[in-house]
């Protein structure tokens, strides 16, 4: 029988973060990302660099933070392909790599732009890849607006 859910399963989970300055205090991260920059916050008072970005320093609780650039290129240390249980919304092959971006900063990221896990190797150079993700249809006061969003992964740097 047709009903309101005939074409719509009843559960939605948004895969990507809340972005846009109407909705989050760290909106600059996403604005910088649109420029191809990977950034985070650094405490002006004590120098602590935090990732993901914060609004309060977890070291000294200061609110005086500045945005700094993180490296956008790195080296693959380890990788794997998730063969079972790939979450809906993620393309196969879903390949994750543990990437050394600097001496003090590692990231576990999705690798995009390759057709097979055979195309990636330990020691490969990778670079930041920014892409569009679905906007947030937001109700801000009386307005209904679309908040454009981007997200990031890494791709081989050939």
């Amino acid at each position: 029988m047709e009903n309101q859910f005939s074409n719509l399963y009843s559960v939605i989970l948004d895969t990507y973060p809340i972005e846009g300055k109407q909705l989050t205090k760290i909106w600059r991260f996403f604005e910088y990302l649109k420029e191809g920059r990977l950034t985070t916050t650094k405490c002006i008072k004590c120098g602590k660099v935090s990732y993901p970005p914060r609004i309060i320093c977890p070291e000294c609780l200061s609110e005086k933070l500045e945005w700094i650039d993180l490296p956008t290129k790195g080296t693959v240390e380890y990788f794997t392909e998730l063969k079972a249980g790939v979450p809906v919304g993620f393309e196969k092959p879903l390949i994750h790599a543990y990437i050394k971006l600097s001496d003090s900063f590692d990231i576990l990221s999705k690798i995009v732009g390759i057709k097979s896990v055979d195309d990636i190797h330990r020691g490969d150079k990778v670079k930041l890849k920014v892409f569009d993700v679905p906007p947030i249809p937001a109700e801000i006061g009386r307005d209904k607006i679309n908040i454009d969003r981007v997200y990031f992964a890494f791709e081989l740097d050939n």
Binding site: V11, P52, V86, L108
Partner: protein, 388 residues
Amino acid sequence: MRDACVVAGGQSKWGYRDATLIELFQEAGKACFEDNPHIKPADIDGILVASACSERLSRQTHLAPMVAEYLGIKTSSVCARVELLCGSGSSAIILAAGMIKSGLSDTIMVIGGEKLFTPQRWETFYSQLGSVDHDWDGAQGLGLPPSLLSIVFQRHAALYGTTEEQLAAISVKNRRNGLNNTKGQFRKEITLQEAMSAKPVAAPLKLYDCCPITDGAAAVILTSGEAAKDFTDKPLVKIIGTAQATESNSISNRGNWTTWNALKTAASRAYSMAGITADDVDVAQTHDCFTISEVIEYEDLGFCEKGEGGIFAEKGLSDFGGKVAVNTDGGLLSCGHPFGGTGIRQAIEIAKQLKGDAVHQVENARYGLTHNFSGAVVAHTILIYGRD
């Protein structure tokens, strides 16, 4: 301070179930009461319900009063839900023990479980994107952690020479031990060859290296040492050590992937509180969501030296008759892993072992330990149980 003792325990059948979340809780509650006919719902003054996914997967919040009502329990001391994903059940036991020891409660049912198989199965995996830092790690597709543990194994192998055969030895042991839990998800032995030739999930981790998705629930009843004597003539099983430690929730901030420092911190505190050392533990249920997890747990719980976890398994030192029997009822690999139910299932098996009631008994077991990690190997929860 009073003792907190486990006086009853039971679980529903675990697996891919034809039952809703509240039905699984009813089955587990009934099994728990049937385990000790001296305890009635009217004897219970508190309930703690451990469940991580009830909103996402069963559209239900405010769960504890609902479970109490369905089990005929009228609480007067505490009635709440506890959530720490895979550590939810053990967290609830720690809180219940604290309530009882302090005198805020007298007799508490701790009941936990999950309904993870939804009518459409993709939803289960999709929902786990919220179990890591959603915006930063979930958005990379890192929900359930096979990829993460694959990389942990690769690093452990590079540092210490741990092999895929050693992981397979753990699959074989825990699948064999699964025969000891009549309500577990998998109750069939596998061979080393089958484990080694299974299809990859997140290479080099293969099918039998990973615990399954599971529906199920489990319950225990805790009471004070004094009241326990009215409920049972068996040796009293007491909670004598508890600890919970965490390290960076965000995957990018983890310093060391092959030594789990929060586990070492928790173990040290729990052993010290219990007045024992790792060598005193006779039986342990550790968090074998992946075989490589069990390897690192042997090491960081102090059952063997750092880097020797693989050899420890290979030599049978974590099996019956070895140094310490680990996952004697099959662990997560055989019983399955309905997050909120797991720590409670572990407590049930430890209590049986210490009372001498287990299906496959560790001879003269006096001290038992349970361990869970939760999230992206972030939080570690340990309980130590002892008998008189």
